[in-house]
């Protein structure tokens, strides 16, 4: 059927086919997505998400020196390890009662801004956009490609491509212009990262208490000159993305339903304000609201809270479909937080991880991922929050809260305005990201280039302020401390793909308990003890299918777009295996040898 006519409204008898993708490519880690698809009514009726990797960080960190935690937890993730180190250092600084000098906080902010620039660029242009490139659209929606050939790109004067199909061609893997340029840009931005944090992906110069980076003017000069070299690329990326995504809504009416779920977004905040942050739990609500990306929980479009203390106390780690023993019968590590609030047994502070490898049963236990939820006291519900892939929740929370007001970035209450200076070819540009109607696949993807712009704008401010300190001679970057006998700490940060928290308990100067909660457990979690599916499962389940191929040569591109829109990073993947032993025909680029036999 043609894709441009309205979708049928009357239900036909279902024609169910089991389809799965395992491992899923173009993500970090092992993820499997298992679905039942109704080809008669062209929708996904069931989805399970599984991760097939267990390494046991929270197990082998016990008894180690807590100062090692930042170095160890970086190794959790091979694309955003630095986010873990940063978050771990935040948690340790709380536990040790140490406040790094302001310049150290700026250097960390600059490193993290470069990470967002690098990571979102390589993910969006080299991994996500392959699903929207000419070769893929030709194989899945030829009629859409034909229409794209006839459609002028509205923002052509910014990015230089005449038609939508020209843009799609520019993203063909290893051959398209933008694809290749993005790889180069991802190297320049990683050089910026290395100037601040030493190495990518596991930083060498970050410590609890500050950094070892030498704050010489040269470091900031080198950083700024590279930032200005990519600033026009950033502006173009926003225009390219907006053109393609607007076109998808137009060419495929109803595409907003793809990957759509209830607005249940969480953001734990990023970019500390070095002037006000002291890393103490008692003042966390206040300095949390000073972050340059505002933390927040958004339910059905309403802001529930900006308070990191509330966010922390509401965390619940549920089991139900994961390969672990429950720990509620164990002794708690932390009964009350430093403010005297009771801490739940299912809070990460009290968690004990006991792995039980077993057979995969989709009606029983089927994943190495646990199910983090946020307990909403107002409704007595355990919410399966998602991160919108990171940028969507960050921009949404920041826009809605209206707290960020800086020279380059302003939150208005319903949008975020980002100003970028003049570049080599493009003039000074103000971009505006507005809160969208939906939390869906396209909006998760669209938010990503806007957040790249956001990070670039913040980086400009941080460079200026850091240079101000250097010129004033305030070049201290590390504060010394003693590791206490007993302490607890928590760190809240935004990993590239969303919420990240580390929870630390120290006894006898050693790690008694350590649990990191990265974004992917939130997004990729399996059904919990209450039967609530995780966000991938929930977003894919019930989504319409727009692909023109039938069951025999179905590729599942709509489903893959949804999964990738969350920016999966499971050091774990998703595989595709079609029920009835049918293998799919392949899309491959000749240089890649993806097809054999």
């Amino acid at each position: 059927m043609t894709t441009t006519e309205a979708r049928p409204t009357e239900r036909k008898p279902p024609q169910l086919v089991d389809m799965s993708w395992d491992p899923i490519t173009r993500i970090i880690g092992n993820l499997g997505i298992y679905t039942k698809i109704d080809f008669a009514n062209r929708e996904v009726v069931e989805c399970h998400s599984t991760s097939s990797l267990f390494r046991g960080y929270s197990v082998f960190m016990k008894g180690k020196d807590p100062r090692d935690a930042g170095f160890i937890t970086s190794r959790i993730c091979g694309i955003c390890g630095d986010n873990h180190t940063t978050c771990s250092d935040y948690a340790q600084q709380m536990a040790y009662g140490v406040k790094p000098p302001p310049l150290a906080d700026y250097i960390v902010n600059l490193g993290e801004a470069a990470e967002y620039l690098f990571d979102h660029t390589i993910f969006q242009d080299n991994l996500v956009f392959v699903d929207f490139c000419e070769a893929m659209v030709k194989a899945t929606n030829p009629s859409v490609l034909a229409r794209a050939e006839r459609t002028d790109a509205p923002r052509g004067e910014i990015h230089g491509y005449r038609t939508i199909a020209d843009i799609m061609r520019a993203f063909n893997p290893f051959e398209g212009e933008v694809y290749k340029e993005a790889l180069k840009v991802s190297r320049i931005t990683r050089e910026m990262f290395c100037l601040m944090e030493g190495r990518h992906v596991h930083p060498s110069t970050l410590y609890p208490g500050g950094v070892g980076t030498m704050p010489q003017p040269t470091a900031f000069t080198d950083y700024l000159s590279r930032l200005m070299r990519v600033i026009d690329f950033v502006k173009k990326a926003v225009a390219l993305n907006d053109d393609v995504f607007d076109f998808f809504y137009e060419a495929l009416p109803g595409y907003e339903e793809v990957g759509r779920r209830r607005v249940l977004l969480g953001c734990w905040g990023a970019f500390q304000d070095p002037r006000t942050v002291d890393y103490r739990y008692e003042t966390m609500n206040s300095w949390g609201k000073d972050m340059y990306v505002t933390p927040g929980i958004i339910v059905d479009g309403e802001l529930v809270t900006n308070n990191l203390v509330d966010i922390n106390l509401g965390l619940r780690i549920l089991l139900g479909s994961s390969y672990y023993e429950d720990w509620v019968g164990e002794q708690p590590f932390v009964t009350h937080d430093p403010l005297g609030n009771p801490v739940d047994m299912r809070h990460p502070w009290n968690q004990t991880t006991v792995p039980v490898p077993q057979k995969r049963e989709f009606d029983g236990k089927y994943s190495w991922v646990m199910s983090p939820r946020w307990y909403d006291m107002r409704t007595d519900q355990h919410l399966a929050l998602d991160t919108g892939g990171g940028p969507l929740a960050r921009l949404w929370s920041t826009a809605l809260s209206g707290l960020v007001d800086t020279p380059y970035v302003k939150a208005t209450g319903n949008s975020v305005r980002i100003s970028l200076p003049k570049g080599e070819t493009l003039p000074e540009t103000t971009l505006e990201w507005r809160i969208p109607q939906w939390s869906n696949t396209i909006e998760r993807d669209r938010a990503r280039p806007y957040f790249v712009a956001y990070a670039a704008a913040m980086a400009l401010q941080f460079v200026e302020e850091a240079m101000g300190l250097v010129r004033a001679g305030e070049t201290k970057v590390f504060e010394n401390y003693e590791v206490p006998d007993e302490a607890i700490g928590c760190g809240f940060h935004e990993a590239v793909r969303g919420v990240l928290s580390h929870h630390l308990v120290i006894k006898d100067k050693k790690i008694a308990n350590y649990h990191p909660y990265p974004p992917t457990p939130w997004n990729a979690s399996p059904r919990d003890m209450y039967g609530t599916p995780g966000p991938y499962e929930d977003a894919v389940q019930g989504q319409p299918i727009f692909e023109e191929n039938g069951p025999d040569d179905f590729k599942g591109v709509d489903i893959m777009r949804t999964v990738r829109s969350f920016d999966p990073c499971l050091p774990c993947g998703v595989h595709m295996y079609v029920g009835k032993g049918k293998t799919l025909t392949t899309l491959h680029s000749p240089t890649y040898g993806a097809n054999h036999g």
């Binding site: 491992p23 490519t25 091979g78």
Partner: protein, 362 residues
């Protein structure tokens, strides 16, 4: 498209290392489903000399055509479509191929009953997850060369630290240190957590020149590491080494001086990162203020923990260098003061005092 290899006539190059026929096409089957973070794949994309796209697009003269199969970079949508070349290799229908393993290899033997630590796709017959170990058992004996990318795959790494529940190890621990590939090569170990991008690419390119028949196998040391990359210590390439010689030690991380007293293991770690930098000569570890935690080493991480304390051997060596360093530092300080003065004859007075003599003879 098929990936059948055909041997080529040896091209007429001068100074051939050995006279054998090479391949004109080769597949790289990369598996990052070891217990990894995929950081080595990500690091690989940072390489510029050469870059991964240079390799795949055939921009390096003299190499075979390379078909790279890697989950993170694959244009495939995933699943069996992506696994096709791996399955073909298992059936013996894809030759030659280089097997790259990323991540620690878990011990499946400690699991009782059904279960797995890490898997890669499903068994098409049963639908059960196929373990990484199964894939290694199937593919390693058929691989023309086997490369371990990163410290997890080379020696076990972070996931193999004391107290780990998975019993994991490095690839050579699993296959045996005397393993020989179908192409007659030992396992090629490129450690680093993650790999330094160019270190890995350079090694891979050497292996590919060897596959093309135009180079001998890469020279490896007793731990199967490329000699030219891991034959020197961090300290020998560190630009803070001169501070050590003058016994100028940083007491905390605010200092540009030698970090040996604040946890740096550089003097005893085999790695070239301070010399080479991380990317395009930028970054690194102790050279830019990050202590060396020994991440390229077989003893990593346990031998180097707690990372931020002075290494036990550092106490003695820094004590021994103290008297020499103190004297040298002072003498150099005096000489430095001296050469910071211009000679007296540079002035704007009415008389030339430079010693100029037009009729001077020796």
């Amino acid at each position: 498209m098929t990936t059948h290899s055909s041997t080529t006539e040896v091209s007429k190059e001068p100074e051939r290392a050995e006279d054998r026929q090479g391949f004109d096409e080769i597949t790289i089957l990369w598996i990052s489903e070891g217990m990894s973070c995929d950081g080595d794949t990500v690091s690989l994309t940072a390489a510029g000399q050469p870059s991964i796209e240079d390799l795949v697009l055939g921009l390096i003269p003299g190499l075979p055509k390379v078909n790279l199969v890697n989950k993170v970079l694959s244009p495939s949508l995933g699943g069996e479509d992506f696994l096709a070349p791996y399955r073909a290799a298992v059936r013996g229908e894809l030759e030659p191929f280089i097997l790259v393993i990323e991540g620690s290899v878990p011990n499946q033997n400690i699991i009782e009953g059904d279960g797995y630590w890490t898997s890669f796709g499903n068994d098409p017959e049963t639908g059960e997850p196929q373990t990484l170990n199964w894939w290694i058992d199937q593919l390693a004996p058929k691989a023309w060369a086997v490369v371990a990318a990163g410290t997890c795959a080379t020696f076990g790494g972070i996931h193999a630290m004391a107290g780990n529940p998975t019993g994991c190890m490095g690839l050579a621990d699993y296959l045996g240190w005397d393993f020989t590939s179908r192409g007659g090569l030992p396992i090629v170990n490129v450690p680093g957590c993650p790999i330094q991008p160019e270190n890995f690419m350079e090694t891979l390119v050497w292996v590919l020149y060897h596959a093309a028949g135009s180079a001998p196998p890469p020279p490896l040391d007793h731990m199967l590491r490329p000699q030219w990359l891991f034959g020197k210590t961090v300290h020998e390439g560190c630009d803070r080494g001169a501070y050590y010689e003058q016994a100028s030690f940083a007491k905390d991380y605010n200092s540009p001086k030698c970090l040996v007293k604040t946890g740096c293991w550089g003097p005893v770690v085999n790695c070239n990162v301070p010399k080479r930098g991380w990317m395009a000569g930028i970054g690194g570890c102790p050279n830019v203020g990050g202590i060396c935690i020994g991440c390229t080493m077989p003893g990593f991480p346990d031998a180097f923990m707690p990372f931020m304390d002075e290494p036990p051997g550092g106490t003695l060596s820094s004590l021994a260098i103290k008297p020499y360093g103190a004297v040298i530092r002072r003498l150099r300080g005096m000489t430095n003061e001296l050469v910071n003065h211009e000679p007296r004859w540079r002035h704007n007075k009415r008389k030339l005092t430079s010693g100029y003599d037009p009729r001077w003879r020796p």
